[in-house]
């Protein structure tokens, strides 16, 4: 086992032990295997650089490289697909430490021989690694290293190479953690993370990203992909995001989105951001008064969208109409204790608090907090149900703002 920094600049000898060049860089292939394999090295001889295939290398360590041949094919180096240069594209760059849920910077890389060739096995992010690079020799025992299998590489660090890097492992993390990673790197890398996740996860994570960052992320993303992600976000969050974009971008994205989703969002965009209208979502669970509890649940299962909140069933006069009249609200608790065969109009309560689309978000927060609600229906003047505001959308206003979030973003 040896470190990359110990090989760079070391001599390359042929099979007779004659120095023919020095090691300029190592080439590895990054693919779906857990550890990248060395496929060759870039050698430097005077001002000339050339390529040596891994099959011609008989040994590689702190003392340099030894070749198994005397014949050198002095071909100019050109990269192939999925190949990156360790010194140029990995050293000093950022990686994601998936288990640590943080972004790290590569101080050094550890390599080791294996039956299939030399492989990168670990990343050194310790001050030890820094000092080693600076030429401090006697360091004692190196700090703990990160297993390469637990980190993820950014394809955008190796431009001009067609590199397929999947960030699939990130989907294991909580959307909030993904959002935090996305915010701690440049917007291009943030966009790369979101683009490589499955659309569902990306949408969940995007909802957790701060408003200012959302706009720049969408700017750095492929528009089709951005539209797919926004489509799957909760309509109220999607409207907030789109509201921060310029007019042209907003129209383009709305056009690319599925008709239904874009209509929902467009409706919400008509309301000011900090009113009940701006906070509400049209994705509630509706039911008819003559349905039994069982039928209402069946109906909820078959809804074409994923409701934001299932604890309240909204009993309305029609399922066809876009804005039906709200007759009453049944909570899951009421329904469970009433039994499956009872009719919804027997279970529901006709007395409920509601907001109008103009109600300020502070007022909505106050009502939800005061009466311990999970959601508040938003009604038009003639009692038609426009949507619901869920507690998570006003949570921030209910809690005292922690000081951490008040800091200027730049130094947070």
């Amino acid at each position: 086992m040896f470190f990359l920094s110990q090989v760079l600049g070391r001599p390359i000898r042929d099979m007779h032990g004659e120095r023919i060049a020095t090691v300029r860089d190592l080439i590895v292939r990054i693919d779906d295997k857990p550890y990248p394999t060395v496929t060759g090295l870039v050698a430097r001889q005077g001002r000339r650089q050339f390529f040596i295939k891994a099959s011609q290398i008989s040994s590689l360590d702190e003392s340099g490289a030894e070749l198994s041949t005397t014949r050198l094919n002095l071909e100019r180096f050109s990269r192939r697909e999925n190949e990156v240069l360790l010194s140029k594209h990995v050293l000093d760059r950022q990686l994601i430490d998936v288990d640590g849920r943080r972004v790290i910077r590569v101080n050094d890389l550890q390599l080791a021989p294996s039956p299939s060739g030399y492989r990168v096995i670990a990343v050194d992010v310790s001050p030890h690694g820094l000092l080693r690079r600076l030429g401090v020799r006697r360091l004692g025992t190196p700090g703990p290293l990160l297993d390469w299998a637990d980190v993820e590489y950014f394809a955008s660090d190796a431009p001009a190479v067609r590199l397929k890097v999947s960030h699939e492992r990130l989907s294991r993390l909580h959307p909030t953690d993904i959002a935090r990673l996305v915010e701690s790197v440049s917007y291009q890398k943030g966009a790369e993370i979101l683009e490589s996740l499955d659309v569902e996860t990306a949408a969940d994570a995007m909802e957790e990203v701060s408003d200012e960052r959302q706009a720049s992320l969408v700017g750095g993303m492929d528009e089709e992909r951005a539209a797919d992600i926004i489509e799957r976000m909760a309509p109220d969050d999607a409207a907030d995001l789109l509201a921060d974009l310029d007019e042209e971008k907003q129209r383009d994205l709305l056009r690319l989105m599925e008709a239904e989703a874009s209509l929902d969002v467009e409706e919400l965009l008509a309301y000011p951001e900090d009113s009940a209208g701006g906070l509400m979502t049209p994705n509630y669970v509706p039911a008819l008064p003559n349905m039994t509890v069982e039928q209402a649940i069946e109906h909820a299962r078959a809804l074409p969208y994923e409701p934001e909140l299932v604890y309240y069933f909204y009993v309305v006069d029609s399922l066809e109409e876009e804005q039906p009249v709200l007759l009453g609200i049944a909570s899951l608790r009421d329904m469970i204790f009433a039994g499956l065969s009872r009719r919804m109009d027997e279970v529901m309560t006709r007395e409920f608090y509601h907001a109008s689309s103009e109600t300020s978000s502070d007022e909505v927060a106050r009502v939800i907090g005061e009466y311990n609600l999970l959601a508040l229906p938003v009604l038009s003047e003639d009692g038609r149900l426009l949507g619901i505001v869920t507690v998570d959308d006003v949570m921030e206003r209910l809690l005292p703002v922690p000081w951490r979030q008040r800091l200027p973003r730049l130094f947070r």
Binding site: L134, S186, Y187, S216
Partner: protein
């Protein structure tokens, strides 16, 4: 339909006037005001032409830094680390640390001088304010107080008014703006280079790049240009008025500037006997602002370069290097500013020498990065732009080396 939708154009443009304006105006801090006042008092308007050239250079340099931030989404130290490696980074960070450390000392000297204007001993005020700054930033209440400090610096708008009330000979002012004149005296050259050093300070470039990067794809390179140019012009117009105001009063009366109270007399045409108070308020605000932002930006840049945990929202356990460095810089700045037996003027001069020396190094790095197609793609510097920028860099480098030589010679 899209009633909420995009912000109006003008508002968007005003929003871009963020980082550039803040960064460039940081040049009008304690050291800046002292330098501009000394220039006005010693040479009247005869260095105004140099300010015009310096403004053009500042605009160019700031624009490059902002463009790098907008295009790459990365901060300066991040780019340096990725493109130039650990050794160059370590060298650059060390010089920046020392140069900014010196600036921090000068800010605390400014706080002390402001205190003396109000008749309070700086032995009491400086340690108190150091504690206050540390407490405000680490407790996260800094953002609210920042506006207070910023508001205090608004009193420097008194300079244009004072300049007009002093009835300067505008024809001479106009002539001096466009006709270069050089005097071969050590003091003249010293002030000339001090003006370069205080107007184009490396940390302005660090700040504008990080802040623009933070805004991400929201800022197009064109908008970054508007921001950088307007910031440079605005702050130097204020600087110009400081020179005119002191030139029309102190220079005409053949008075030299020895203390802050002397410098304050330039405001007498406007404020009469309250000139000292007005000047003291502004000096206090500007120094407090910089005394908080400088240690913050310095610790942030250095820890970012080496990949340590950073951010004021972290605890000492989470980010020991960042918070340790931040605390150390404030402590050292305050102690050196009041240590009896230390020649404060000598220390400030030394600070400017350091900044002058670091500046060409930082500028060369910026130029190399900004014209590298691998970093900037199609947004890299064009050939004409590059030529002008190199002339600036060489000019600044020659001046600061001359300054260094002169300073060293003057010690014998």
């Amino acid at each position: 339909m899209l009633r909420r939708g995009p912000r109006p154009r003008l508002l968007r443009y005003l929003a871009y006037l963020g980082p550039g304006l803040v960064a460039a105006n940081a040049g009008n801090d304690a050291g800046g005001i002292a330098t501009y006042s000394s220039i006005g008092a010693s040479y009247g308007y005869s260095l105004l032409w140099a300010l015009v050239l310096i403004t053009i250079s500042l605009a160019l340099v700031q624009e490059m830094a902002a463009r790098m931030g907008a295009v790459t989404g990365k901060g300066f130290s991040e780019l340096v680390r990725e493109q130039f490696g650990v050794r160059v980074t370590a060298f650059l960070m060390l010089t920046l640390l020392v140069a900014n450390g010196g600036l921090i000392v000068s800010e605390f000297v400014g706080i002390g001088a402001a205190a003396e204007l109000f008749g309070v001993s700086h032995y009491i005020v400086v340690p108190m304010m150091a504690l206050l700054v540390w407490w405000l930033v680490t407790r996260g209440s800094y953002e609210r107080v920042e506006k207070v400090f910023l508001a205090l610096t608004l009193v420097f708008f008194a300079y244009p008014v004072a300049a007009i009330l002093a009835h300067p000979d505008w024809l001479t002012v106009g002539k001096q703006l466009v006709s270069p004149s050089v005097r071969l005296s050590a003091n003249y050259l010293t002030l000339f280079i001090a003006m370069v050093g205080t107007t184009i300070t490396p940390y302005m470039q660090l700040y504008i790049q990080s802040a623009t990067a933070e805004k991400g794809a929201d800022t197009s390179p064109k908008e970054a240009k508007v921001d950088a140019y307007s910031g440079a012009i605005f702050s130097d117009v204020i600087a110009g008025f400081i020179i005119v105001a002191t030139g029309a009063t102190l220079f005409v009366a053949h008075e030299r500037i020895e203390t802050a109270a002397d410098a304050a007399r330039a405001l007498q045409p406007l404020a009469g006997r309250y000139a000292g108070i007005i000047f003291g308020i502004g000096l206090f605000g500007a120094s407090m602002l910089a005394a908080a932002v400088l240690p913050l930006a310095t610790s942030y840049t250095v820890t970012e370069a080496f990949g340590f945990e950073k951010g004021v929202s972290r605890t000492f356990r989470e980010a020991p290097v960042f918070l340790g460095l931040f605390t150390f810089l404030i402590f050292l700045g305050a102690v050196l500013a009041i240590l009896p037996g230390i020649n404060v003027i000598r220390l400030l001069v030394f600070t400017q020498v350091l900044n002058g020396l670091v500046l060409p190094i930082v500028l060369v790095s910026i130029l190399r990065l900004a014209s590298d197609p691998a970093v900037m793609g199609s947004h890299r510097n064009g050939p004409i732009y590059n030529a002008v920028a190199w002339v600036t860099v060489v000019g600044v480098a020659v001046l600061s080396s001359a300054y260094l030589v002169m300073t060293v010679l003057s010690w014998w």
